[in-house]
């Protein structure tokens, strides 16, 4: 049994995360996974870029709360994507700030995310660049090849495309279920199940 698990492409954790052995996770003590998240091969998470400046706010109270990347449930990080916390000069010194992903966030192949916040039910396509401190709200679809400028705010139910990205449409009422990633989660791993028709 254990022998077989070693051979599997993914490491499956107790909380249901499926992390590819070839995924590049740096600074794992600063990475939080909510569970049931898929991290495919060559996906990179830069947990080492944690906050360096001392922040006097309440977040400093709990030990180990210096999270660089927080990921919710049912997220899907495709091959070759990169999650990188954004950084800026804060009170005279340079510091990185945490990158937060909600639930059901899909990140396409070769995409670089440097957002401050990505909400829940967000689909980010292939080869997208999400600039530093961008805020993506819930139910947003970012089409392939978009470049989201730094500091951009994308409101809920937007379809975004272009370089620089602009809002090109609205997610229709009937399209909310398409953001669910439960089935996609089941379809990868060491014993994947086929996607329903």
């Amino acid at each position: 049994m254990s022998r077989k698990q070693v051979k599997g492409e993914y490491i499956e954790t107790d909380t249901g995360n499926k992390v590819a052995r070839k995924a590049i996770l740096i600074g794992t003590q600063h990475i939080m996974l909510g569970g049931k998240t898929v991290i495919q091969a060559e996906a990179m998470i830069r947990g080492d870029l944690a906050r360096t400046a001392q922040v006097p706010s309440s977040s400093g109270a709990a030990p180990g709360s210096n999270t660089a990347v927080a990921i919710g449930r049912y997220c899907f990080l495709s091959k070759g994507c990169c999650l990188r916390p954004p950084g800026r000069i804060y009170k005279g010194s340079f510091t990185y700030l945490p990158l937060r992903l909600g639930d059901h966030v899909f990140i396409g192949e070769g995409t670089v995310v440097q957002a401050a916040t990505v909400g829940s039910h967000v689909h980010i396509g292939q080869k997208v660049v999400v600039g530093e401190f961008a805020i993506i709200k819930d139910y947003v679809r970012v089409l392939d090849g978009s470049v989201i400028p730094a500091n951009m705010v994308i409101p809920s139910f937007s379809i975004v495309a272009g370089q620089p990205a602009r809002i090109v449409g609205e997610v229709p009422e009937g399209g909310h279920e398409a953001f669910e990633l439960r089935e996609l989660y089941k379809s990868v791993g060491n014993n994947p199940q086929p996607l329903p028709v």
């Binding site: 709200k137 400028p149 994308i154 809920s156 009937g174």
Partner: protein, 569 residues
């Protein structure tokens, strides 16, 4: 040739002019629309005409399934084009602050907080202190050695294209209230101070901008309403203005002419004069383009604006890059949707900006089966003309009831290039959907077993993987796959021999291939029949006639299935 993804578009019943005319009246005849009370009406009407997805009008009624809404009361599909929308919330897409509709009337449809878009690339602009700005180009010799504490003049800068507002000479004294400061800089008295950099090169701007569009419009409006009042004091137009419906109907009666005799002659009132001074909003067009020409000669094309930039400006008329101003964000709305016929709300979002839930969301994909298309064999890049291809259509039932599906397609697709279409199994039943969204694990297992059995059965019975007429290809717990055979038409444009042409037949259309004419689209008529709970839907507005527990329901609609492109050989 780009890759082609198969698609299904469904036609909203609003395409039909007979039903759209009745949408205005509250009580339309029961025969017009297929409703639960009149189950056998609509297909009789629809039988005699085929639907052409290529007709110019079809574009306006075909929608992907997820765009369609569903009216529970009318029992009919509603599309984004035919629903009536109502504003629920108005908010700025950048700062996500809600804007009251009253302030919308006074302040306009743009964000009056500090939300701006770059006039060059439309990226978001951020307020930055000029002193501590990291760009070395901005740091001139005298302020480079100042402290890093953010102070002094502020600018708006774009992190995407590195444009900043100092390029048009706009600097702010404080980082708050940018909108008001910018408004003052642009339209206020100190408008001449802003062009320290621009120098003497843009006289058209500094002179003419003082009289803004808004100011000119209000001056002109007050002038002409005064003139109107002088011209015909009795007509009441001066009192109400053109916005009042009474005045409008009066105007309409003047122009319609059918009761011109009854009205007294109004046209020969006193002559009104036109605005002719600046105080009345009049502005002579500056025909002297020499300064613009000299600027163009000096700075070249790079200094001019492109069409998109000029269009996204708040005020029109920008010709040079230095006439581009930061664009305040256009506000965005959350809207609720009403059925055009029965006026019931079919979609209503929560009014708070941050809340993404819906109070009501009746969408068509909870009723209508979704249709997905897969090629039977590994897909060729292009369809070979005159070579039969088979496609698998999978229908997935979202309802909790068993649904009987009847399909119909014309034997040949409409249009110049008629491909032949055969649905091998035009009638089948779909099992009910058990759980919406997530179904149970053992259910899934059962489903898998069934699939395997089904595959085996097919393997032993048929011997070969051949689609059989009248048989379902594959079946799952709430889905059914059938086979459609298509013989793509040849796209060659050769006139048929003159001998074969009959007298009086129109000249064949031999014009070159039009856009997307090589896409093979199948019009398909789908009819669903099921026995449903009357009151299991979310909306419990059922009246007395729908008290029965079970009820026979029927729905019929056209859809178009895009299969692929035919190769041009």
């Amino acid at each position: 040739m780009a890759s082609f993804t198969p698609y299904t578009y469904i036609q909203c019943p609003c395409h039909d002019t007979t039903t759209t005319t009745t949408t205005t009246s509250q009580s339309r005849p029961a025969e017009d629309a297929p409703s639960p009370t009149s189950p056998h009406s609509s297909d009789d009407d629809d039988d005699d005409h085929n639907f052409d997805p290529r007709a110019p009008r079809s574009n306006y009624s075909l929608y992907p399934l997820e765009y369609l809404l569903w009216c529970d009361v009318c029992h009919q599909i509603r599309c984004p084009r035919c629903v009536a929308e109502e504003l629920v919330t108005i908010y700025c897409p950048n700062c996500l602050f809600e804007v009251a509709s009253s302030s919308l009337k006074t302040e306009g449809n743009r964000c009056t907080r500090s939300c701006f878009q770059c006039p060059i690339c439309i990226g978001p602009l951020a307020v930055q202190s000029l002193e501590s700005a990291p760009e070395p180009s901005l740091l001139s010799a005298d302020n480079a050695n100042t402290a890093t504490t953010p102070a002094g003049p502020w600018i708006l800068s774009c992190s995407y294209c590195n444009w900043n507002s100092s390029e048009i000479g706009v600097k702010f004294d404080k980082p708050q209230g940018i909108f008001a400061q910018l408004q003052k800089l642009r339209h206020g008295e100190d408008s001449h101070s802003k062009h320290a950099v621009g120098g003497d090169t843009s006289p058209t701007k500094t002179d003419s901008v003082a009289a803004t569009m808004k100011a000119r419009f209000s001056a002109m409006r007050s002038f002409y309403s005064a003139q109107n009042a002088i011209a015909n004091p009795s007509s009441g137009l001066g009192d109400y203005g053109f916005s009042s419906p009474g005045a409008l109907s009066r105007i309409m009666s003047i122009y319609s002419g059918n009761n011109a005799g009854s009205h007294k002659q109004k046209s020969k009132g006193t002559m009104t004069r036109e605005a002719d001074s600046a105080s009345e909003g009049f502005r002579a067009l500056d025909l002297d383009d020499s300064s613009a020409v000299s600027q163009l000669r000096r700075d070249g094309w790079d200094s001019t604006v492109i069409g998109d930039q000029a269009k996204s400006q708040v005020e029109e008329g920008a010709r040079f890059a230095e006439e581009l101003w930061p664009i305040p964000y256009l506000l965005r709305t959350k809207r609720s949707k009403r059925c055009p016929v029965c006026r019931h709300i079919i979609s209503k979002p929560e009014s708070k900006v941050a809340n993404t839930r819906f109070r009501m969301r009746l969408v068509a994909n909870t009723t209508i089966p979704s249709i997905s298309i897969k090629p039977f064999n590994p897909p060729p890049a292009l369809l070979k003309p005159l070579q039969p291809v088979q496609y698998l259509l999978t229908f997935r039932n979202p309802l909790f009831d068993e649904v009987k599906v009847t399909l119909a397609t014309p034997a040949t697709t409409p249009g110049r290039f008629a491909s032949r279409v055969t649905v091998l199994c035009p009638q089948f039943q779909m099992d009910p959907s058990t759980e919406s969204g997530m179904y149970l694990v053992d259910d899934a297992l059962k489903d898998d077993n069934k699939d395997i059995q089904g595959r085996r059965r097919r393997g032993t019975e048929g011997g070969t993987h051949q689609a059989e007429a009248g048989k379902i290809w594959e079946r799952g717990h709430n889905w059914v796959t059938i086979v459609v055979e298509v013989v793509p038409a040849s796209l060659s444009l050769e006139a048929p021999p003159a001998l074969l042409r009959k007298e009086g037949e129109p000249e064949p259309d031999l014009s070159p291939l039009k856009e997307d004419e090589d896409v093979l689209e199948i019009p398909m008529f789908v009819r669903l029949e099921w026995e449903g709970d009357v009151s299991h839907d979310q909306m419990s507005t059922s009246t007395g006639k729908e008290k029965d527990a079970r009820e026979k329901k029927e729905l019929a609609y056209w859809c178009t299935i895009g299969i692929g492109r035919i190769s041009q050989e």
